[in-house]
Structure formats: structure tokens, C-alpha cells
Symmetry: C2
Subunit: 442 residues, 2 copies
Amino acid sequence: MAVTKEAGLYPHLPKLRLDALRAAPLDPLTKGLPFGSDGLTLGAIGARGWSLTAGDLPMPMAVIRRDVMERNSAWMAAFAAANGLLLAPHGKTTMAPQLYDVQARDGAWAITVATMQQLEVARRFGVRRILLANQPVGRVEVAALMEALHDGGGLEIYCLADSAEGVAVLAEAASRRPPPPSHPLRVLVEIGFPGGRAGARGRAAALDVARAVAASPGLALAGFECFEGLLPDAASADGLLDEVVAAAGEAASRGWLAADAPLILSAGGSAFFDRVGERFGATLTGRPVRRVLRSGCYLTHDSLAYGVAFQRIRERTRLTLPPGGLEPSLEVWAYVQSRPETGRTILTMGKRDVSFDSALPVPLRWFRPGEMDRPAPMPPGHATLALNDQHCHLGTPGESPLRYGDMVGFGIGHPCTTFDKWDLLMLVDESYRVVDAVRTFF
Amino acid sequence: MAVTKEAGLYPHLPKLRLDALRAAPLDPLTKGLPFGSDGLTLGAIGARGWSLTAGDLPMPMAVIRRDVMERNSAWMAAFAAANGLLLAPHGKTTMAPQLYDVQARDGAWAITVATMQQLEVARRFGVRRILLANQPVGRVEVAALMEALHDGGGLEIYCLADSAEGVAVLAEAASRRPPPPSHPLRVLVEIGFPGGRAGARGRAAALDVARAVAASPGLALAGFECFEGLLPDAASADGLLDEVVAAAGEAASRGWLAADAPLILSAGGSAFFDRVGERFGATLTGRPVRRVLRSGCYLTHDSLAYGVAFQRIRERTRLTLPPGGLEPSLEVWAYVQSRPETGRTILTMGKRDVSFDSALPVPLRWFRPGEMDRPAPMPPGHATLALNDQHCHLGTPGESPLRYGDMVGFGIGHPCTTFDKWDLLMLVDESYRVVDAVRTFF
């Protein structure tokens, strides 16, 4: 494989920005903070001595098991390094600059974002290479994107294009506010598939977009990409990934790629990231290539679909797998609020607190304050039946130990839609003591 | 009907708190703010001259049509007044103190909340009567609830109970931190139904809870309540509501109700609120009664299920309906980001931006910046196919006018799960000019 390994281009986010975040008082009305936390700063939370199981925190409560998350980060970094991949983790998952910093420390090459608001969050917290994984649109959005190239700190921005209309808008904006010559707007042509999301349909359409980018001053054709995450299986993903490689080869042979930069090939949800590594490994032109994986969910992983997907990777991939592996680190805890009838328990957690789009949360552990030493595994027969806005209906077997006032910890499916329900998540140790907290910017 | 009309007990929220909210600078990274809005205050937004259709705002963008919302508020107030009902609108829907103020101005008797965090938001913004529509649970939650009774400003708090265990915890907390004699913790016994959510199952169980409340110093038995919103039809709702009336009658005859206060009967989602009015009208003991409706969604209404529910009310109710009626006032707007294939259009709006739990959003209007004077109704044949985290897949007929860069305005189903995706919503006039903005506290 012809790989330019170039990890850790920004070793850490500027300490100043994160320090300021940690030093600013939190809004005491933030969900998850104990009541009356006036004047409390983010950075002071870890020293409060709070314990989830001691009942120090209101519930529902979203927690990240820090050690598991750190292991996940290190595992993914090792996986990428062992297989000639660069990581541009999708920042939309967490929207937490403190977690971008963890990813940067472990060698992430860039942070991926989905919108201009997300790009602004990453930029203001000092990320110096950002991949906007969408075709820009909108007057103030495109203007802000062009302005960001003049950021002064050497910000490198990649974005997508999939149509002549989209390229024309970018080109027009670049002519009105020309980017610095050293910092053009780097464009990846998006390749889609029938019935899929955005992305040019067919190689001819993709190459038309590539030609238009190459011909536009201020824009640079950086490469090709796709999002294979919506496809049903690994074989379909392979077909799309191969198309990205093929289109890039043609664009290279026609001389459209930016002259002074390696070719970028990028893809990657969190389900088929092994396929990205395998298929992008295909030989290309002699030009240096950066194979950029955008998986966003690996820090927390999940207890449902991504767990299953990772099992497939373990069993099937020909890539190098480091020891260990991804484990779920994100949990949401709630109290048993009511035991109104056999078979049904009501808890203080609802659609506002936990993902419900890919699957309902799964009860993992339970704890009785004042009586138990540590959480116990949930006995068989418990399953989430439904969520309302603020309540969980848990199906409980006749012999369930649960009663009013007990705590239940849930594993989640699809971390993106749990993170976005919290301004603040607690980091806990393996005894559920709070060691730190992270702020999100949704 | 024996009704004590007692609207507007707090004419407005304390102006000072809302003024401070309006005077504080917003985080420039807030979703929905134009980029670079550093130092901008909430109160200054209305004077910026921003227009949605001029492209002054990033998208996606959640907007409330102010005039429609104001009419909805006035209509609901008139409906309540005409039918001997008091309003305690569920504040969990919007979590926006500025909108609580609109409801207070139009005579709301209380604000309802679901959690202690929500109670704290209402309390800190000066709401003086709060109905916590759940049985309290959790060490810090119950302690904060008891402390709030000592708030000093004469805060009146109602909460629910449905079990001896729950009452015992409240009683124990009240013995540790006795409420002021003038401000006991006022408890409504929750009555549920088989297969439903919380609430005592059966009258005997409900009366057991009532007896326990009546016997507990610091607690006062204020009445009975239910949540009929999860029932499938009006007839089932009637059965539950009648049970609330009957249980209250028995508790009154046994002398368990707090001596110095009217009996509270409360219920109400946003679908069957007419049934609450009709069934709670049944004759009771000679004691004054307050019939308290907790509907939370009427300010914005919706374009889907609540619209259908309101049509049933219009056609069937025997209550007095004021002229006019509820109309949807909440919309989410997005750009067309990609037109990759006939039949499918991709827009910049996803699960992070709009409700998808009760139904997918419905495209109402479209607009082409620079070419059209005002939004036009969406031609037939367009329908939302799916949402991803940050994208909408819109099904588009062959003759669809939509192209890259157009704007589409969506109506939503279930406002609760759209509000909670936004820290900031813009208030617009009927020309989509921004006239103000509201902050939420989720």
C-alpha cells in the first residue's frame, strides 16, 4: 500500500480554548447538574467527589465510562496505524471539543463535521484540519466557509461537492473572497448510489463535478469520497468504495487533481470501517494517497447495532486488528419511579434523554442505594417496551427485583442521538465515581 | 358547574429574570445563530432585521410564527375560561420561560413540569405555582423539592404520588425538612390504567395512597389526577377521567382532603382536552373544585396528530368553543443540498433538528432565494421518506420545481421533540422576518 502516514498534525487542541471552557461557570439549570450548582465550573466537577450510586446526581444521567472510552480511542488509533489509514472522526457524534482533544492526542488527522455550525465549533476550539462532509449550501453558510479559510491559523478545510450547481456556488464565493493561495477550499467529489443520499450518481456525473472543481480558481480537487454507512451489507459497501477508487484513478490520469497535495480517498461510517481499509488499499496511480476514515462512534461505541457490526469486523476482516476491541462506554441511568403493575416498571428517562431511533435502550445493570455495594447485572427478562418524552416503560418479569427508588443503567444504540440530548455528560470511573465532565455544542 | 375561577395568579413572570435572560450574550456557537454573532444578546435579535427568505439565517432553522402562536394562546385561554377550566400548561413541551410568560399573561394558573430540573427552571424564572406531574424519586431530587418550598417567594408546589413507598419517601423528607405550615407539599394522587404509565391501578389502591398522604405531616392531599393522553380514544379517556372524579368524591367524604384548599382535579394531554372539561364537570361534593388542564402543545400545535385530534374536538365536543381555533405555528426550514436523482431530494435537516417520533415532518412551503417574492405552497407529491442525523430524504415527483439552494419549510408532528433540539428558536412574522427569539432550557 502506498500510504503517507501523517498522524497527529495537531497534537492537541490549543490548551487555552479548552482551559477557558473548563474555567467558565456552567448554567446551574443544565440537565444533569445537582441542583443549586451555582458558580460551578466544568473543570471543578471532577473534584466534587460525586458518585452516581450514592445518589449525588439527579437522574436521568448520561455517563461515559472514561477508561473504556480511552481504550476505545487507543484501539481505533492502533487499528488505523496498523492498516495505513488516517482518522478524521466525525465530530457530529459527540460535538464535544474535549473529546476531539482525546482524538487529537491519539493521532487524529482531522475532525469531520456535517454543518457550518459544527465547523465553527471545531474551528473556534482550534481544530486545524476540518472535513465538512457535505456540499455547502446557503448564503451565510458559504460566506462563513470562505471566511474561515482566512482564519489566520492555517486552517485546512475540505468539503464535498456532487453537482455543477454546488461547484458554481463555491466558485462564485471564491471569486468574491479569494482564499489564500496556500489555503484553497479543498473539495472532495461525493459519489453516491441509487436510492442513497447525496453524491453524484455514476462515474460520468462524478467526473463532471471533478472537472468543474479543477477548473475553478480558489478550489482544489483533493480527491473523492463516499458514505457507505446507509448500505445494507459489506458487499454493497465494497461496490461503492471501489467506485471511489476508480473515479479517483481517472481524475488523476486526466491531471485534475491538485498538484501539490496527496490524493484523498475518504469514507466511513462506524459499521463497515474495515471495508474502507480493505478496498481503498487497491493500487492506484503513483501519487501519494491518504485513506481517511471518518467513523464517529468509536469512542463510545454502543450496546446494540454497532456492537453487532463490530462482531462482523472481528470475524471477517483481513485487516490487522490490534488486541482488545471496541466496547460500549456510554450509559444512561434512571430511577424506578413507579411499579404500578406486574410486568411494567416506569423509569425517569424518556425520548429527551436517550436514543430511540435505531433501537430502544437496553437495561444492563441495576442498583439499590443504601443496600448494594455495586451495580449488579440486570437479571434476564427485562426489556424496554416504550419511551414517552420523559418516561421509560420497562417490561419486568414477575420475579424482577426492581422497586421504587432503584437505579437502572441502560446501554444505548446509536450514540449520536444520545449525545445530542445532553449539554453535559459525566465521565465516571469503573465505580461510577465522577472524575470529569464534557460539554457538548449541539 | 361548581368552579372557582382563579386565573392569572401570577400576572407575569418577574420582569427582572426575563430581562436578565434577554440581556445576557448568547453563545455564538448556538445552532441557528448566524456565524460570528459574538456578543449578541437574546433581546437584540429582533432588531437585527433578519429575514429567513433573504438567507440571513443558517439552516436548518426552527421558527415560530408569532402571530399564530399568540392567537393559539388567546384561544386556549378563552376556551378554558368559557368552560370553567384552569390551565397549567405543561412546560416540558417548550422549556422556554419566555413562553411561560406568554401563558401567564393569558391567565395560566400554574406551569406543569416533569422533572426537578424542569421545576428548577420554572422556579428560577419566577413561576409561583408549579405542578410536578410525577411522583418524586431520588435523594437530591426529593431534597431539592423540599427546599423549594422554603423558596421565600410563596412558591406553591404540587406533585404526584401513586404508591405507599413514594409517599413514605416524601413524608420522611418532610420530617427532616418540614415545609412552612402555609406551604405544605401538595400531593395529587395519580390514577393509572392497566398497561398504562404510572398511577395507582384501581380505586382501592388510589385511596390507600390518599390515606397515606393525608396522614403525613408536611404533606397535604390536594386532589386526584390522571394522564389520559396515552389512551387510544375519547371513550377510554372518559373512563379514566370518571375514575378520578369518583376517587376524589370518596376521599372528600372520608375527610382526607386538605381542609383549607379547594379540591384539585387535573388531567390533560393535548389530544383529549375537551373530555377533561366534560367529565370533570360532573357534580361533586359541595367543596370548591379546580379543574386543571395540563395541555402543553397548544402554543405551537402541530401539522399532524394534534391537528387531527383538534378536528375531532371541533366536531364532537359539547363544550363551548371560542371563535377561531388552534393552528400550527412551528416550522423547521432547510436548504435543498443535493438533487442526486429523480424522486429523491436531500435537505440540510435531520433527526437532530426536527421531530420524527410521532411522524416524519411534512413539507409545507418552498422558496427560491432571489427569485420568488414569498414562499409558495409545496406542490403535491412531495413527502419525507426518511431522516438521517443531519439529512432529510424528500420524495419528489418528476415535475418537482426543487433544485439545489431552494428552501423548504416543514410542518412538524409532536412539538415536544422539536423544541428539545433547539437552544434558540426564532419568532417570525408572517413574512418570515425575525421579530424576536426564545431560549430553551433542556
